[in-house]
Assembly symmetry: C2
Homo-oligomer: 245 residues x 2
Amino acid sequence: MHAAARKSAKHKASDDTVLDLTSARMSAPVEDYLKAIYDLAGKSGTASTNDVASRLGVAPASVTGMIRRLAGQGLLDYERYRGVRLTDGGRAIALRTIRRHRVIETYLTEVLGYAWDRVHDEAERLEHAASDELVERLAQALGNPTSDPHGAPIPTADGHVDERSLRTLADLDVGTRARMVRVSDKNPGLLRYLAEIDLTPGVEVQVLARAPFDGPLTLRVGEAEAVVGRGLAEQVLVEEVRDER
Amino acid sequence: MHAAARKSAKHKASDDTVLDLTSARMSAPVEDYLKAIYDLAGKSGTASTNDVASRLGVAPASVTGMIRRLAGQGLLDYERYRGVRLTDGGRAIALRTIRRHRVIETYLTEVLGYAWDRVHDEAERLEHAASDELVERLAQALGNPTSDPHGAPIPTADGHVDERSLRTLADLDVGTRARMVRVSDKNPGLLRYLAEIDLTPGVEVQVLARAPFDGPLTLRVGEAEAVVGRGLAEQVLVEEVRDER
DNA sequence: CTTTATTTTTAGCGTCTACTAAAAATGGGG
DNA sequence: CCCCATTTTTAGTAGACGCTAAAAATAAAG
């Protein structure tokens, strides 16, 4: 019945495969690929086979295969040996999946009492099973939050995200005051440590000193002080605080 | 936690596959098969290939294949042409899956405002993605309910269910007073209609009259009256109300 | 600008789950 | 007790995803 969407040129118009890509439900692996490509490509554009592979923990050869298929479905543009770029359809699905993930993470922490370092895995599975209706109900119960527990912006239901680029704590000049905005949700150990020193989204930080040769930074976090390694500092995204007005 | 993995193998235990069956995470299809077999076999014992197939909406041949594999894993006892029966391990997984399903259904209706006829599909997908921890948190938030919105008993975390057998509304003698206990969650139309006439779990019903030749029943539902077909009456499980004391 | 290293793709497979068509068991009616 | 309808199983396939090993492109280095 399905006449193999053969002639998928580099353009859209998937002739006979006239599915509504924007609202179609994809398999979990497909959603994962699209999410991975979305945030590897970032604003820049393309993602490489290898990067996608290591992000997803699969072999590069598997990525090539999946990518071919998804390109055939019009979810991404692909030229061999050239990397992939999401089409609007692919991006829409990626954003819906990310919205699900982040709303779920927020609900788990805000309502169900999960610690912020333990929501990622749970959300990773639920995001593929939750209907959009459920996600909207969760979002509503939360008062339509705009960011998740780790400070990541939650895309709106119609696919818009706040994509401003932030600086890392490691980039701040000594003395500059900033507000902790965001950190990846993927490293539980890091998250636990950050919680321990109270370096969580919204908190004010200031770099008090920076040891040479990429040494540790001494921070003021709220009222307390903390010394953190460069590696950690690079993971923490902040926004400068315009001095009081 | 207790309940060591009972070495249930009475026959061909699957040799090298020495997994802890009791807590192992199964794929969604496997969980679905076990659930289906659990409630087709009921207390009686075995389920037939055809019944499982039509319950799951797959071809009988597919059931044979899956059943062979599950038997190999020690989740069920199987003799070809003889039907299947869950082992203790298989039953444990079925019950945990059913617990997830019912806790989720309850949460969706009680907390998130879903109508009782719309929770089944959502729960059907979430039950395979939700961790046991999540389910326990949901159950706790609900005060550890013992039955779901449709009156089905929720198995406990350690695998016990209330399995008393109920009569259907169609079996009641005229005049008998009973309490509506339970109805299947799988037929949205039926559920909507029952909600409309307020025939929901806990409500008192009485058969006022029964037309001959399997005709409709006239009921008193709470304070109101309703006339329902035999087909519907057979779907509604009730328990007799011991006259006041 | 050729040689080497890296990245990406192809080829060939394996697993899980489902399907169809055809063969084999089972069991009910006469 | 035999025949036929029904149930169940086997055989052969398919598609989604993943893997490894080897070939092919591309990029880097001398």
